[in-house]
Subunit: 285 residues, 4 copies
Amino acid sequence: MTRKFVARWVIRSFGASGRLARLGAVVAIALVAGRADAIAQTPTVPLAGVDAALLEDMVVGSRILAELGVLDGFGHVSARHPTNPNHFLMSRSLAPALVTADDIMEFDSDGNPVDARGRTVFLERFIHSEIYRARPDVMSVVHTHSQGVIPFSVSKVPLRAMFHNPSFLAAGVPVWDIRKEFGETSMLVENAALGKSLAATLANKPVVLMRGHGDVAIGPTVKMAVFRAYYTDVNAKLQSQAIALGGEPNYLTPGEGEKADKTNFAVIDRIWNLWRMQIMPTLAK
Amino acid sequence: MTRKFVARWVIRSFGASGRLARLGAVVAIALVAGRADAIAQTPTVPLAGVDAALLEDMVVGSRILAELGVLDGFGHVSARHPTNPNHFLMSRSLAPALVTADDIMEFDSDGNPVDARGRTVFLERFIHSEIYRARPDVMSVVHTHSQGVIPFSVSKVPLRAMFHNPSFLAAGVPVWDIRKEFGETSMLVENAALGKSLAATLANKPVVLMRGHGDVAIGPTVKMAVFRAYYTDVNAKLQSQAIALGGEPNYLTPGEGEKADKTNFAVIDRIWNLWRMQIMPTLAK
Amino acid sequence: MTRKFVARWVIRSFGASGRLARLGAVVAIALVAGRADAIAQTPTVPLAGVDAALLEDMVVGSRILAELGVLDGFGHVSARHPTNPNHFLMSRSLAPALVTADDIMEFDSDGNPVDARGRTVFLERFIHSEIYRARPDVMSVVHTHSQGVIPFSVSKVPLRAMFHNPSFLAAGVPVWDIRKEFGETSMLVENAALGKSLAATLANKPVVLMRGHGDVAIGPTVKMAVFRAYYTDVNAKLQSQAIALGGEPNYLTPGEGEKADKTNFAVIDRIWNLWRMQIMPTLAK
Amino acid sequence: MTRKFVARWVIRSFGASGRLARLGAVVAIALVAGRADAIAQTPTVPLAGVDAALLEDMVVGSRILAELGVLDGFGHVSARHPTNPNHFLMSRSLAPALVTADDIMEFDSDGNPVDARGRTVFLERFIHSEIYRARPDVMSVVHTHSQGVIPFSVSKVPLRAMFHNPSFLAAGVPVWDIRKEFGETSMLVENAALGKSLAATLANKPVVLMRGHGDVAIGPTVKMAVFRAYYTDVNAKLQSQAIALGGEPNYLTPGEGEKADKTNFAVIDRIWNLWRMQIMPTLAK
């Protein structure tokens, strides 16, 4: 009995390499889902008007971007507050791979924490506050130092859509150079004026690159913002390879981009379910 | 006793990193093979005329391509129905890393599910239906968004055979540009007309690239189609590197390609056995 | 009870792939921290005047650089002796992935071991002894054969700061070519004269490349030297990609570099805590 | 007690990702070494005159090259027979990641198995038989399809030594093009004439590339041949990157190569011990 039980579980650790781990997670969830869900969804001190599923999406999104190599120890995922649209939700200052529901805090429209309770906050929360202010359609913001996008952030070559999953890039990807308006800085968006300038460069686009820093991807849901952060990184790496082959790559047209983006919305749960299955077991206690 | 048992198993989790996991799998199979085989091979509702080994190959093929990074949350592996050659078999709409025998459905020659029982199906099943219709010799079709091939799909540089394992590429690799015949689309093969056009571009070749999308590899068995999908991805990455060195690479000639392909058929079980040993433990319940 | 216990632990092995392992580590630490701390911090024969936290930083630094692929079987992390500043601390001759507190030895200002007790020492300890002699501000030295930097070590293209995390590179990165002063050698810094020459080329900079060999990163703490070794490797890979896109990349200016470096000091614990959590469980006995 | 035992072991599975697994292996060996050693060293039917340590080196070498990504399902490691120098030892036809001492067979100087007992053999055993015949100094031969070297095998750009670990490449790396002497073939070294031609191109060098196929690295011990196969792959990848930066890289001179190679011999156990610790636990039964 014990033997069988242990065997069933440990066997899965054989598959704990690379992508195989994600598969083992499917079964693990059956056992631990109750507890893992609690960690993903229920803060010790509840956030008024915030449902558990939103917190889970934020936790899964933060952790999967670390797992996929889009984030390292830095970067963050936020969401607009669902019942108080002037506010937003974001983790306390913490590596994204470690975020739980309990780490998520509420911020007002100026990026001030509503109830800090001694927790430290991200220097760059103004990326989020100013984009939520400027773009009422945006429900989630992801900031990364993705290794794919950094070379494009310092290059004159624009990022363009290589295939249908990053189709949203076909709308055009602006680059924000902090030095143009602000001279020599620490490179970080550490006040509202910097955030406003970044939001102005983003304008109505889904992604903006930050020179010598990284990028910001936005979306109408946490899932879509995370999906876009991931595929922006993938696209950048593939575009570099296509350029190295020589000649002008045959990019998606804006019309193709728009149509393909609709399909991405329709099928996002196929990849999100895989990602969720990979992440939930890491939350079990 | 318990101690010894647990130790024997858990020790293997030390080897659960990268390729080491695959080795541990060898031993794990001895214990779990019965149950894992069942999951790989036996659907809850049997598929008439379909033997268990074919389902296992489809499950192993789907999962190993995810493990090898050829597939992410998208892409699919199908097989011609072994006793009703107008029909074919393919998973319900699901990330390939998660496919079990129970997820495999039967489709008719127009891509309609024979007995859906509420399961959702892939938008792009017409890739498969129209290739099976046009190519009676094809017994398996694999569709990927492989990161190796996407740069070649948008480039004028043709994919060519770099070494003997991807020798099948020496026959020439056509590129299908959906925009040529159909204008601006969602990029997806979501109806029969698109599938027919793709099959016409594939013609009598083993692989076709899809501009801004990915590729399709076919084979006389599931094993060969999976092998080709894998080595097409590897070849593309190596060809990019050879081109970056400067000068024209010394590719395999068509004659070399034909001869080497025969050897690949002869030795495929050496790598397939390794892949199977990596995947089976992920199926144990 | 046992069942629950085993389940709780083994479940985490599902997440033992790639970055997921690091998350599992958070919980593991709760259980094993006492013992793992002992291994990271307490040598069998105490090092007089050396506190446990410094040894832990050296162990974590050695192991995380191997985990991050910055080191393979070679390379080393040292620290200036905290109470005898003419001396320094470094592991016996051992792959960095295997270092424990017990392996750390004390060396005098000429690189001679103070109390070898039969342990073998690194040939290249003169890298460390001569930099500590020449640079009183340096408290830690890391030597790597990082795959990112080797191409730059044999190129005329200077390494320059691509983004804010490797901002310290904006000060300029000298390249030391052992052949210039010493002719044909084994390439290794195996005596004091070679170490002095390397230290002279490093001058007042944070990083020096070694032609056909690797690099040295220094810092005011072990954490900062490890951080710099890691981001030097990352920067080199990203700079290669930016150059391949064509045109001159828009690098950080020296002024930006200085300001951003101050922020790096302020936030280093965010990534160090993640790294520590990944490494501590590997030390439990 | 059981709890403590299980905890001690399972905790290590937290570290089972990437390079961390290798660290956990250190402890695992303490427990399983007896049994793992047996699998690495003791064939069911003893090989006369072959000591256990040699078989272990062959098993560790085969498996670590798969773990390091130098080999996939194909490639092989052989050793000259220690007491019958006209014969050599090599695995039966099997993926290198799966080799145990029991799979190692003896072959005569023409590549015929001495006592096949129904086991299948590698098509390309003539690579080994003809190099042992032509080069009495060679004690071990490794054949790979390493992804680093394939681009160089089809390029006019010669592989040259980038840093001190692959210093042996400074002697020059010939490329064998099977087509020159034999016209269009299957690309494989499937008879003695092909093996002789390859050995003639290798001449007195440590490595030869095979056009559109891979490479062969030889050494005075199994450890050195494996070390060279690994660093040839690493060097090729780094040389590609250096070339992409533009300008002529500053390669090691032949004189530097010779001197550095002597140091490699002296320090090889530092990396071999790490590799052995990673591999032994995968052999425990």
